[in-house]
Subunit: 250 residues, 2 copies
């Protein structure tokens, strides 16, 4: 039977267990929101890197003028980088036509965890419907929440629940049955209890572990942006073996 | 500020992080349900053991006639043991006045994970209110879901959410504020979506990972029993350094 599983943290599954599955990596605050935004703003591709030094080396090998370094450590920009991890920085004026070399703590680690999957997408509220479209017909779906430093975060689980509910509706419309694991059932119930309004979603994001960190750093506008639904009609897809994330439009 | 955190699996926290906290270990299907039932049926105490051989050795040192060996591996009884892990076996006729040496896979491991806590209780639907009473006034509460073989299970998260909601109500009545972590918020929403009726709880237990395993083994009556609320008015408490679980009545 087709299946959909949710993993509240990468540590709750293994790369091997994701082999052959269509995986959505979720780091709503803020990596996957920012990656979707950068591609929507015309960035050619995003190259995710685990370490700051690795990002600098990758960028140094690319033609000067064609590349931007972006990302964060502990929520704040990295010395010498062109851009931080706020999606609001990723405007067409800054990023159109550029290659973005990008490193964040939790999001990049989650992307690496999915490396054996059949397909790897970056999901966030700003592109939820495009992600749902790309999962159409997939027999095995795994939604991988990045969390924050090994802690479960409400914003990622809320997105997983909303996407799982969307997929359940699409399945139902086609008379198709799918097996939803226990964590998926919990995430779906969480989304049902929060509801689909932007206002209630914004409140959950503000109260979450990730949101409280951002509010302390003065980044409430980022949370407001990340709570918006379907602002972009594209699914960032991590291609193998290149390791590059490009915009896939359905 | 007082806090309440939920851990969907023991691996999501560390023994050190639980130091000084009042911890409720949750393995609804079936270890904590069975432990509460055994004590309610008059067992003098329960000695949890991680390994089958360890349980045999502990039992061998106790006066013959005063001790019973109980537990399971992969849902089925252990060769040479007096009792399995079905709460329905733990009748007064079988266990009154006896010391129960007990080993199960997930529940015992979760108890061990909580070893540095200030107080350790065994929680299940059959004794939810007694657990809530024992947590009264506790500034730090951690609800530790045992899960099944490293997988999140809905029945444990449902119990954690119901207990967290109960504690939130008690706090509110006293005008007391408490900080609920993200996983607690998710578990509470899950309980709200399921509701408090025994019928809806039974359905979630049947559909959960732990429940489906038991149904395959022909143990649906155990699930029906575990879904009952407040059948027993006691909180099993693991005492240190003895490592014995005794009935605490408020």
């Amino acid at each position: 039977m087709p299946s959909l599983n949710v993993h509240f943290l990468p540590a709750l599954t293994t790369p091997e267990a994701l082999t052959g599955s269509a995986v959505v990596v979720i780091d709503v605050l803020r990596a996957t929101t920012t990656i979707a935004t950068a591609l929507a703003a015309g960035a050619r591709k995003v190259i995710p890197c685990q370490e700051v030094e690795e990002a600098r080396e990758v960028a140094a090998k690319l033609p000067a003028g064609s590349v931007l370094l972006g990302g964060e450590r502990a929520g704040t920009p990295i010395a010498g980088f062109d851009l931080g991890n706020s999606p609001l920085e990723y405007t067409p004026a800054r990023v159109a036509g550029k290659t973005l070399v990008f490193t964040t703590t939790n999001g990049t680690r989650a992307l690496r965890h999915a490396r054996l999957a059949k397909a790897i997408f970056c999901g966030a509220f700003v592109n939820l419907s495009a992600i749902a479209d790309h999962l159409r017909g997939e027999p095995r779906i795994d939604l991988l929440c990045a969390g924050t430093d090994g802690q479960v975060t409400a914003e990622d689980v809320l997105f997983a629940g909303m996407l799982a509910n969307r997929i359940a509706s699409l399945d139902q419309r086609r008379g198709r049955k799918r097996d939803f694991g226990d964590a998926a059932a919990i995430a779906m119930a969480f989304h049902e209890s929060v509801g689909s309004s932007e206002r209630s979603r914004f409140r959950v994001l503000c109260e979450s572990l990730g949101g409280r960190n951002l509010i302390e750093l003065g980044m409430t506008p980022d949370i407001r942006y990340a709570a918006q639904l379907n602002r972009h009609r594209l699914a960032p897809e991590l291609l193998t073996p290149s390791g590059h994330i490009v915009a896939s439009r359905s």
